[in-house]
Symmetry: C2
Subunit: 335 residues, 2 copies
């Protein structure tokens, strides 16, 4: 949906990146070597990509997901990325959408490391089910919040409490939102609210957990070519697919690399693609900034470009009216 | 918390407002005269302020809240604002935090008007309970979502479906977020997420409900001197109060006037104070715009001013560390 902006400004971005990178390697980078990292949704997609990357960086890795078979397969992939015989890789099967489930999963992973809370907690679990608002049952909307927000919030809740109890300075909580945590469009009324909510949670915790020396990060990935993406496409409205047709996505490994790079550099809001970076800059508000010069240019690009995008999307939606009315009729939703 | 920015730029804003107002009265304004408006949280605060204003504008007004005594008192206030003997004012006692409760309340108000869904639905219901993340029980976090998001989302859900079934072109759904739907800070981890989620919902519905000719608006009020505000202050952390000490708030009537003015002009994102307007402009992303020139200047103010604000707030939080540790100890939360 954003191809106009890509064509116009990728070159500009490159220049700025080169320019701004000179400011970046001044502060010390975070290294996960020898640390215990905890990754929810670690059996596939972004979570698995991140788990493998952190294994290669020398971390002890705990992954959590529901499906034991997928966890077993993921553990095999972690083994293939092992750097040292000392590294501990463990998988835990838990359902994370309740406070109790998330607390129990974190406790199990802590118990495997002498009862100590992990050094860094990455909440990559979550699913989306795009569909028309008009077609939803109440459960579709509430499950959206459960699978998009609570599944991560409860882990952050348990981890923050335990990190403070153990006075774990330098502990990290890393949430995973989405481009749709910065913006929204037709078809995402059950997904964009939880992803926005995660941003609200991340920004609150960033301000609050600095009291304890705990860092909060939040990642906003674009479309990722994961099993979850294939699942989403089964219910995604045709108009939403049409709007997104020109979008470029990331592989789980690319997204994981972007997430890790942002955490390494200490960025509070992390983006790994150009378009989401434009949205980051133009919705930054008082989010902690990593690179003011870059954000300024991206914000200018947004100021000029996004209104054109908005207008073209609105036009597409309005042009879809008659076809949509037919669709609603076929579903018995209108006479 | 924002006094520096106020001092520096109110004069500038005034100039821009005068300049930009010349663009504004071109399109036809919305008039509620003779329409049926439905207001949740209508027995006090913003909801009551809005109900009285719409009564003065000649609308039929239905208000919904839980407490019957407060509803009765509110009805008396509406009577005092009556313009014509034909106006119908009704009060409905319902609990709105479930899909069923919200649907039943809307149905009751529709039944009082020949079974027709209201012409405009304003979701003003909601409460906040600011507190430290570390002090929360899981219920505090989930109740925050219920009382900040679901209490409005379920009404929007029921109203959108009914408006489409009745093919109610020009129908309006107006959500009420908060300045904390654009930004966040320490103490608001149960409130900022639902208020961000409302923004996600509002932006999704704005894009989707245009299929049916239904308008979606969302209002972002700052501190309002309401009974709810007094309630919030009972649990608000001292550091949050200190950060907010210099903030100026609005009376419920001022906020209602700002909300109405934005709806009248067809603004998708509505703000009624300078600071929230700065946050609106600097978190605009692809939100539909009402005044690009004004937003551009506000965004520049944000680019320069907000980093200073951020730094000063972070400093305040960090300076509070020792005192906070004592507080946690006194509560038995750390050793």
């Amino acid at each position: 949906m954003f191809d106009w902006i890509s064509l116009a400004s990728k070159a500009l971005l490159l220049l700025i990146l080169i320019y701004s990178s000179s400011f970046m390697f001044s502060s010390k980078k975070w290294s996960p070597k020898g640390l215990h990292v905890y990754i929810t949704g670690g059996s596939q997609g972004l979570g698995l990509g991140l788990a493998k990357l952190l294994a290669r960086k020398g971390a002890h890795v705990s992954i959590v997901a529901r499906n034991q078979t997928k966890l077993d397969n993921a553990l095999k992939e972690l083994e293939a990325n092992r750097q040292s015989p000392d590294q501990v890789f463990k998988a835990f099967s838990f359902s994370l959408n309740t406070a109790e489930g998330s607390a129990a999963a974190l406790q199990a992973a802590s118990d495997a490391h002498g009862g100590q809370v992990p050094d860094a907690v990455f909440t990559c679990a979550g699913t989306a089910k795009p569909m028309y608002f008009l077609e939803m049952q109440p459960e579709d909307l509430s499950r959206g919040m459960e699978n998009g927000f609570w599944i991560q919030a409860w882990t952050a809740f348990a981890a923050a409490k335990q990190m403070v109890r153990e006075n774990k300075k330098g502990g990290k909580i890393v949430l995973v939102s989405s481009t749709l945590g910065y913006m929204s469009l037709i078809g995402y009324s059950s997904y964009s609210p939880p992803k926005h909510a995660l941003r609200g949670l991340g920004d609150s915790l960033h301000s609050e957990l600095m009291l304890y020396g705990i860092d909060t990060h939040i990642f906003f990935p674009p479309t990722m070519y994961t099993p979850g993406f294939e699942e989403e496409n089964k219910t995604k409205p045709v108009i939403t697919k049409a709007i997104e047709a020109a979008d470029e996505g990331l592989t789980p490994d690319q997204a994981a690399a972007g997430l890790f790079s942002g955490v390494e550099k200490g960025q509070a809001h992390i983006t790994a693609d150009f378009i989401t970076s434009v949205f980051r800059a133009s919705t930054r508000g008082c989010a902690p900034r990593s690179n003011g010069a870059l954000d300024f240019v991206l914000d200018l690009i947004a100021l000029v470009g996004i209104p054109f995008w908005r207008r073209s999307v609105d036009k597409q939606v309005l042009a879809h009216r008659a076809e949509h009315r037919e669709y609603l009729r076929s579903k018995g939703l209108v006479d």
